[in-house]
Symmetry: C2
Subunit: 898 residues, 2 copies
């Protein structure tokens, strides 16, 4: 960090900073935070930004490392920057004649809405207040600013309950007999200031600080400290943000939107964040400070109204929005203030948006020539696609809504009503679907929101906390539904009383609130690809298809699906799957008739009996494979031979034992004895996978015969089946020698019998550390590898997913021992290292080796990125995740072209 400073002025030359950062592999936002770097960039572009300086994230990290102490010299650097700010603005800290007031705001690398704290109007004290009254001739404005400042400082910086200060205002409002803040008199606000100072002194044992420099340093300290508060920690955990990034502190000249009706403040998106439509979307309030808009306490006006009220300002604002979009090549979320007829930009950042909006914005920005196809592909978060692929309410079964609120985050959600975040968490942990219903949400509710299917609030608008966070989480969300009244632990909606635990359903796309557990139906995109809806009836489909086309043109990594049925195969195909990466054959044995026959096989003592039972199963398996290979005609289909331990198929209850006894002719006692003998202490590490193929070759031989008989049948019908036979759980070369030789012999036998020529492959799962370590040898016999990263993660970590994931992994995540469960996102350092090794040594032994992944990681964008970098040929994931994988693969290629 040698040649970087701890404090920078916003109008500084960015080039040398960027250069220094580049040598450290960092970018501007790493040092200045997202908010800070955007302030600096807007300033350098000549936009009207109030003068500012920023204390870097590095300084914050030094502070944390010193056990929450300011590093030597930091105060001096801040004071020097302050002097420069005074010089730039011509105003002085604490000067009653020409006072400098500043905002102090946190700003980390990644936007963390509502998580970090802000202090406005810092610099005010008794003397400055008096001076400002003289200067502005607006006593009401000054006392209002001062009382807000004391409250924020007391709450945010010093930790006094906000409510204590709010009571002061309420007391005066009551005394004056008014209900709205704007109706309180100047004298009243002055009284509020006095009351607040008393509250401050009562709680902190000392007077409210009159020295602006002391205020500033305390403000910086508060921002630094807020990096470690519970809500911030929880937010980072949920969003996989490292705890060691630190936050910057932005100190900016205050401008005032509450200096009369030629002033105002607002927030806006450069496009509609809900639909993506290319219209400026936002709200503003005249004669107000920013917090009034966000808090939802006064109902703001739509931004369009600004055109009528301040046409010049509006034109200027629209121009700035266009300029920002061109600059960032992305939709922007901006904050602005108008002070006595002059527009100031306070903040800009890439705007959060729904999946539908993201898709539309990406496609339209390309059409507008703003971005290239590759840039468009980067504009949609792959996981967001979930939102447009997952179910909606079935229109046929949707009841009349009880009420309608603001549609803030799209999607269908149904669940039991809960009224607190804590209940939401508890019920969700108990496996219940819940809808969190609140007057409004706050950062304290984050965990509860995450645990809910959807969120409903009675207050707030599209930019309220609930709406912003809901969209970001992809949770259906309806806000500002005034018909919802909350009291006494129940809600009533237009007369209907709903108690905690009863079901409601909310539609975040329409804003509707319905009684009961309304069934959901497939999304428009799914219905279009399945031919159940005309594309022109689903505008999202065309946009989605366009984006996916670009993604497919961009990506180097193939995308297959994991599917065990013809229906799943067909859906995945329609969603762009290029083949099947994993068909699990064991699910096919669980049909009732099949299960009993399979049990007969397990319970046979002699090879001949087992072979006879296998022969009975053959037609069933052949039919299964026929359907899947037919659905995937012309595309490769990897079929994994039996994997789970045999005891999973044996009856556990007396009725099952009885049925098995009747079919097999074995006594119930014998069946229970076999069950007991097959019991394992650690079934995950037991007699399964190819270990079964070695000890009971009849099973694999039957399965291979079924695969090739099905393939021959299709070939004879003029289709082009491409089966790839996969041996699971290979760890020793001899296992593959034996099972592979058997499989090839059976395949050849069937092809000869049927007189059919067919291309096929024989390969293995790589799902044990030893398989990766001997990949060079395995590749001599295997034509493809499929990394089974679920099992590989289990064995590399020594974690049984069943036993650790719900148990201590959450504690590990919260202690930051792991950033995220390794079963969710692939562990590059450990598991990934073995994968990279196996890829390298496998390809050395067989350059044509086909490499893929079929663990659940195949649908996780970060893991897809790794798979691209490590050189796999394809990823395979569940059908609904196929578009996500396609998009993630395209983004991986843009980031690291192959």
């Amino acid at each position: 960090m040698s040649n970087l400073k701890r404090v920078y002025m916003a109008n500084t030359d960015l080039a040398p900073i960027r250069e220094a950062l580049q040598t450290q592999g960092r970018e501007l936002r790493d040092l200045l935070g997202g908010k800070g770097s955007n302030l600096f960039i807007m300033t350098s572009e000549g936009l009207p930004v109030p003068e500012a300086f920023t204390v870097t994230t590095d300084a914050c990290n030094e502070y944390q490392a010193l056990g929450r102490k300011f590093p030597e010299g930091l105060e001096d650097e801040i004071m020097a920057a302050l002097a420069e700010l005074e010089s730039q603005t011509g105003k002085q800290f604490g000067d009653p004649q020409n006072p400098l007031l500043v905002s102090v705001r946190s700003g980390a690398k990644f936007s963390m809405p509502g998580m970090m704290d802000t202090v406005l109007n810092l610099g005010l004290n008794d003397e400055v207040a008096e001076g400002m009254i003289k200067l502005t001739q607006n006593e009401r404005f000054v006392w209002d600013a001062y009382r807000r400042f004391i409250m924020m400082f007391g709450d945010v910086v010093m930790g006094v309950e906000r409510e204590e200060f709010e009571n002061c205002l309420d007391q005066v409002k009551e005394e004056e007999g008014v209900t709205l803040d704007v109706d309180v008199s100047a004298a009243g606000l002055k009284k509020v200031v006095e009351l607040e100072k008393t509250v401050y002194e009562k709680h902190l044992g000392k007077a409210f600080p009159q020295d602006p420099r002391e205020q500033l340093m305390e403000g910086v300290r508060a921002v630094f400290d807020s990096w470690g508060n519970d809500r911030a920690v929880a937010y980072r955990e949920m969003n996989k943000i490292p705890h060691n990034l630190g936050t910057a502190v932005n100190v900016q000249l205050m401008v005032f939107g509450n200096m009369g009706n030629d002033s105002g403040t607002g927030v806006a998106f450069t496009r509609d964040p809900s639909t993506g439509e290319n219209v400026i979307y936002g709200e503003f309030l005249l004669n107000a400070q920013g917090e009034d808009v966000v808090a939802g306490t006064r109902t703001p006006e739509p931004i369009a109204d600004l055109e009528e009220q301040m046409p010049e300002i509006y034109r200027q604002f629209v121009g700035i929005c266009d300029q920002l979009e061109e600059l960032y090549k992305n939709m922007q979320d901006v904050e602005f203030t108008i002070e006595r007829g002059k527009l100031y930009m306070l903040q800009c950042r890439n705007g959060k948006r729904t999946a539908a909006a993201a898709i539309r914005i990406a496609v339209e920005m390309e059409k507008e020539g703003l971005v290239t196809e590759a840039e468009a592909v980067m504009l949609v978060e792959p996981v967001q696609l979930d939102q447009v692929l997952h179910p909606q309410f079935d229109p046929e079964q949707k009841p009349e809504p009880l009420a309608k609120g603001v549609a803030a985050s799209p999607g269908a959600a149904a669940g039991k009503v809960v009224f607190t975040a804590a209940h939401a968490v508890a019920e969700a942990e108990a496996g219940q679907r819940v809808i969190l219903v609140r007057r409004e949400t706050s950062p304290d509710d984050i965990r509860g929101m995450n645990a809910s299917q959807g969120i409903l609030t009675s207050m707030g608008g599209k930019t309220s906390h609930a709406a912003v966070v809901g969209r970001q989480m992809g949770k259906p969300c309806v806000v500002g539904c005034a018909a919802v009244e909350l009291s006494n632990g129940q809600m009533s909606v237009n007369g209907t009383v709903i108690k905690e635990g009863e079901y409601i359903s909310i539609d975040g796309t329409t804003g509707e609130v319905m009684l009961g557990d309304v069934p959901t139906t497939d999304s428009d995109i799914i219905r279009v690809v399945q031919g159940r809806l005309a594309p022109e009836e689903a505008p999202i489909y065309g946009l989605f298809a366009q984006l996916m086309t670009w993604a497919d043109e961009t990506r180097a990594l193939g995308v297959r699906t994991n599917a065990d049925t013809p229906d799943d195969s067909a859906l995945a195909l329609a969603l762009g799957a290029e083949g099947i990466g994993l068909t699990r054959t064991e699910h096919m044995f669980f049909g009732e008739k099949r299960l009993l026959t399979f049990q007969k096989m397990i319970l046979s003592e002699r090879v001949e009996e087992r072979e006879a039972a296998a022969a009975e199963l053959l037609p069933f398996q052949q039919e299964d494979f026929y359907g899947i290979l037919k659905a995937m005609d012309g595309k490769p289909v990897i079929i994994r031979l039996l994997d789970p331990p045999l005891h999973e198929f044996l009856p556990k209850d007396p009725a099952g034992v009885k049925a098995a006894s009747e079919v097999t002719g074995k006594s119930e006692q014998e069946i229970m004895d076999v069950s007991a003998s097959l019991h394992e202490l650690n079934p995950m590490l037991g007699h399964r996978g190819c270990r079964l193929g070695v000890t009971f070759p009849e099973i694999y031989k039957m399965q291979v015969r079924a695969i090739f008989q099905a393939a021959c049948q299709l070939k004879q019908e003029g289709l082009n089946p491409i089966p790839e036979v996969m041996i699971p759980l290979v760890g020793i070369i001899g296992e593959l020698e034996i099972t592979g030789t058997d499989a090839k012999a059976v395949a050849q036998e069937v092809l000869s019998e049927q007189g059919v020529e067919l291309e096929y492959m024989l390969g293995t799962m790589i799902e044990l550390p030893r398989a990766a370590l001997i990949a060079g040898d395995i590749a001599k016999l295997a034509e493809f590898f499929s990394f089974g990263t679920n099992d590989l993660t289990q064995t590399v970590y020594g974690f049984s997913r069943d036993d650790v994931e719900g148990k201590f992994i959450p504690a590990y995540v919260s202690k930051q021992i792991v950033p995220v469960s390794p079963f969710e996102s692939l562990d590059e350092q450990g598991v990934g290292r073995l994968i990279a090794l196996a890829c390298k040594e496998g390809r050395e032994a067989r350059p044509s080796l086909e490499l893929g992944i079929c663990g659940e990681h195949g649908g996780d964008p970060d893991s897809v990125d790794f798979c691209h970098r490590v050189g796999l040929d394809y990823v395979s994931c569940s059908p609904l995740r196929v578009p996500i994988a396609r998009l993630a693969a395209a983004q991986a290629q843009v980031k690291n072209p192959r």
Copy 2:
């Protein structure tokens, strides 16, 4: 194999062959087999060896690879060698005037006694027989040779039951009214030949072949085929001999020990294979062929008698024995024949011997100046030491013997009597100790012998099959116990009837057979090192100590022990352990009072309760550690913090639940609920090791406190404790950060409290693949690594030892998927690769990193050899295995000097 021939004459120049082999990393015995290479070497040394040629193992492997077909040109090469043999001997195949007769014998790289088949007198036919009668004037000898040849050829080469031919002899003996073979007349033997030829034709549908060349090629084929027979395969499996080595075929001029009383044959060891005493030890028979000695059908004379009967020959023989010992620097096992007063050496090889003999021979050969110390160290198989360290019968409790036989393989064994190898295997699999009792054993009994505690036979001598195999297996063995009569599925010994399933005990050191299950006692060496026996009363001790001294001087690898008690620690120390590589702390919680307190801790819901329970356990743990650290004064002691999952400590039965309920004040239902909540599907991969340390830090803190309080106490007493604290099951760096920081803080706290300065180390187990993969990071925090190869093997293979070792691993071994269970001998390719990686990257991060192994592999010589090569500092094993590890480490250093 380019410049090597498929057939070599025994008098060939060895230098160019050795040179060619060296480029392939092979030695002479790889190509010519053990027997062949020794024949060639003896020939080149000028010893009297009958002329011979050898078909190589490479030719055998070609034959196997071609699906049991002779490779192109091999027959021509053999015929050319035969022509050369004819030229060297001046005899002709099939020439009645001067016939060449040969023996055809198998000879693999490793000696496989009784496994492979031999044909003598090959070349005989009707015409040759008549010619030889004229030449030798010894009709009886010729017909005897011919009838033996037809029998061996029919049995060994063509697979007709040997009994069918034996019946021919029996028939004639009956006709002539004689009982001994030697009493059958010449005419009678001629009749036997005719009868055998009829048997041959009856079974094979063609006449006995009269063409000696056809006989020869069939003989070679039979030897090649015998490589794949069941007994040979079983032997190789048991002895870890690869199946792909192949066997050579030795074709050698026949010499005859049965040409009258100036002829004879014998076998001998150059020293006593049972005691190691430097006297020639063996047996001979006059007027006999070799098989008569080995078969045990005639009782041979001790070799010493030869001195009286043929003093010249004896002197020559003794000289050859000395010459061979000097040549091979090892005790030799030789076969010889005297033909009409001329001595021929037929075979020599390193002789099998007991552990006691091996030790004595090694030490005495060094004292005699025959070998260096390092060579002496190589003369004892490390695993053999088991025999002199393991228990003997307690002399106090040893009953009067029922009978006494020949003491053929030392050691004490007791078990249930079984009369067949199959029963032995079945009972052993059911967990029973058995003694196999047989008239005599044959290669068909190998598996049964291996499954038994010991072997008792009623016939045969010290060189019988049972004796040779018993010694090699380290199984106590008593042979030739004529008092044992076997009939009707029971045995009677001097009037005492013993049925299958009753207990007997045998002492292979004294030859005694006792009724009942006699308790065993510690070996002499153990009693000496524990001060319970004076060294001068145990001659083996001095020799053992000398050998161990040389081993210690030679080895580079340290040897520690795994010990959980002061007693075990003291024993290991006495056996040469240089510290403790693993103390398991969990065993200490299983004492009754401790267990209840520990349960209280587990059942506590609050940290304070757990801390209180931990505080109660502290004095117990401190006492444990005090004892161990005191026993190991001045030597490092690695103490592993708690490893197993908590549910292992909770009561499983109602009585235990009740007791826990009383102690903890929790209801029985609550206890059962906690038990259920802690239940895991795969406990091996669950909440254990440092995962407990992370979630329940109280436990580890208490343990660390106990360790350091104990250490301080010892230090204050003037001793020098060296504790090394080990964190188990680390897989993620954060786990070590948290638990390691806790441990260091507690250690520092105790040292400050006590005012003691103490050197200690903090390190980790490396027992998960991920730990090995991130070893570079771990080494930044850990001062030592201890490879936990039991768990590492489980996770690298995905094998639960409990579930696979008794179940399908035996099938894997017999199918040669694995050469041996990877839990027995370390898997170098997979597990070893991770160990090597961790060593390299660990040492790169911390050059002073201490590296060791504490899995059970630490006592396995092959694994010790790997540990030496991979650069570990020490191995750690159970106390009785310490000498084995010391010797194995010395041998590793001789083979690959560091």
